[in-house]
């Protein structure tokens, strides 16, 4: 039996941490349903309204087009990044090419460069290509940001798959590509799904590049939030409503990941 004191202390600590983490989120959800005059009050006694959601989706805020931008940018990024990353991850995991480790390190090292440092060259490049304020520019930048991360993540999953089944498939008559399609991808599927969702979340929340590279047409949700800081002051109730719009899809995905992640872990390979 464990000591009751330790047990209590542990619980208390967990509750404390939960409160610190959850308070801002709860505050955002509550504020989204408040009238402007209640925004700063801590009282739970207010008259809930859906007016904020109506407001953010109409002129001049037009959250709808930002939602669309975010959805398009994040989805296209995932659809391009994950298959490419999966193939790259497979190669890094299985082919014993000279310089493989260095190359892998090189790809990962792009992640260590602070984004602020490279945002200007990107801006200049896209201006030259006349791609400023387009979704294409955002997709390209996001691909550059997430692909190394996704390669690294999927490689971890593929490393964990024993090569026996692959070799068996090659002897059974499969080409390398066929092996990847029939054997490796199904076995790595839970990992690839998890990576896809991470990739989506990263892109969905990307702020800095979207802020610099978009102006009107390609503005995404996180950037859109900033526009609620006006000369009239911060419109917290509107910002919260928009915040809810950003958070809910991610929240649903997180639940989904959790389910799949545990399933992926327990499925296991056959000895």
């Amino acid at each position: 039996m464990r000591k009751p004191f330790l047990y209590l202390a542990e619980r208390a600590l967990l509750v404390l941490i939960s409160v610190v983490v959850l308070f801002p989120i709860a505050w955002m959800f509550l504020t989204a349903f408040k009238q402007p005059r209640d925004a700063y009050s801590l009282s739970l006694n207010f008259e809930p309204t859906l007016q904020n959601f109506v407001t953010v989706f109409s002129d001049p805020w037009n959250l709808g087009s930002m939602v669309l931008n975010s959805v398009v940018v994040a989805t296209v990024t995932v659809v391009i990044a994950v298959p490419c990353a999966a193939l790259a991850a497979y190669s890094f995991s299985r082919f014993r090419v000279k310089g493989r480790k260095f190359l892998f390190f090189l790809i990962l090292s792009t992640q260590f460069i602070p984004a602020v440092v490279i945002v200007l060259p990107f801006f200049l490049m896209f201006r030259q290509l006349d791609l400023l304020d387009t979704r294409i520019a955002l997709i390209i930048v996001n691909l550059a940001i997430v692909t190394p991360f996704v390669i690294w993540m999927i490689k971890g999953f593929i490393d964990a798959i024993p090569t026996d089944s692959e070799e068996a498939a090659m002897i059974d008559g499969a080409s390398r590509l066929r092996v990847i399609k029939d054997i490796v991808m199904p076995m790595a599927a839970p990992g690839i799904l998890t990576s896809s969702i991470f990739c989506f979340i990263l892109t969905w929340n990307e702020f800095l590049f979207a802020l610099i590279l978009s102006r009107r047409d390609a503005v995404t949700l996180p950037v859109g939030l900033v526009s609620f800081r006006t000369e009239r002051g911060d419109l917290w109730e509107l910002m919260s409503a928009a915040g809810v719009m950003i958070t809910v899809p991610i929240f649903i995905m997180a639940l989904f990941i959790q389910k799949h992640f545990t399933r992926g872990m327990t499925a296991g390979a056959v000895k």
């Binding site: 026996d164 070799e167 068996a168 002897i171 499969a174 080409s175 066929r178 054997i183 076995m187 056959v270």
Partner: protein, 354 residues
Amino acid sequence: MAEVRLVDIEKKYGSFLAVPKQSLTIHDGEFLVLLGPSGCGKTTTMRMIAGLEDITSGDIMIREERINDKPPKDRDIAMVFQNYGLYPHMTVRQNIEYPLKLRGIAKAARTKRVQETADKVELGALLDRRPSELSGGQRQRVALARAIVRTPSIFLMDEPLSNLDAKLRVTMRAELKHLHHELGVTTVYVTHDQMEAMTLATRVAVMREGRIVQLDTPKKIYAEPADLFVAGFIGSPSMNLIDGKVSDGVFRADGVNVPVDLPNRDGVVLGIRPEELEITDDATAPIGGQLYALELTGESTLVTLRNGPVSACARGHADFEAEINSPCYLTPKPGARFHLFDRASGERLDGVKH
């Protein structure tokens, strides 16, 4: 069916020489067993035949065609892996069907073939299970079924029975032997278990440190081991190997006096199999000492005697009984054979050439 020839093949992992340059011909339809202790290069040799491992130098020929650069899928081989290499995300049916699917065989023909093969290895009732829902023996059968479903020219099996319990191993051994008899496909089989090798093989290649030290029929390998290593490796219990010297035409060690046809020399090892010795009361018998241990195996009793550093074991009658430490004498049965080896090089001294 096909003949396989390994011509001057060599395998290095970086600077480590796993398989030194050597040649080997596997005859059409034979069951060739690569036998040797763990780490001696058996798997490496097999994987080179399969095309899963590059060959550092040399050629591999199947049906007189050089296949060094052909990918595994074009070599018309089937392989059973030590850990089975099943497809965990597929059902047993899909596992067995996969090689046929890759070869573009029509659905109806596939279904029929899978059913026939599954019945042959008694998996018929388990076709819709996943590998994770099977026992070790059942998984092993799936691996086997997947290999035989399309009648390749060559079977490669890498210790396929080593993950099974002792009883199942014996059953599966007989099944493998029967299957080979039925299909007649050239088979290369890797094992470290000399009993498996002896029972299954048409010919056995005994390997040591990457090198084939003897290649012959099980009978020949048992009767005339090429060197000390093979002598000690084959047989259970293993051959008695006694250190001594030859003087005046007699091999001498503590309590041991065996006439031999050799000039005087030191560093000689005398070998004789326990099953070729019998227990006697005759104090002039070639091997004498004190009874050290009696082990009843069921059909016989293993009698071990000691005399100083000399230890010798004989397979005696199951009813044999005697006091431990009492004097004990062993004499060769009629037709028994003494083997003589050089201690330093391990080479055979009594003129049997291989």
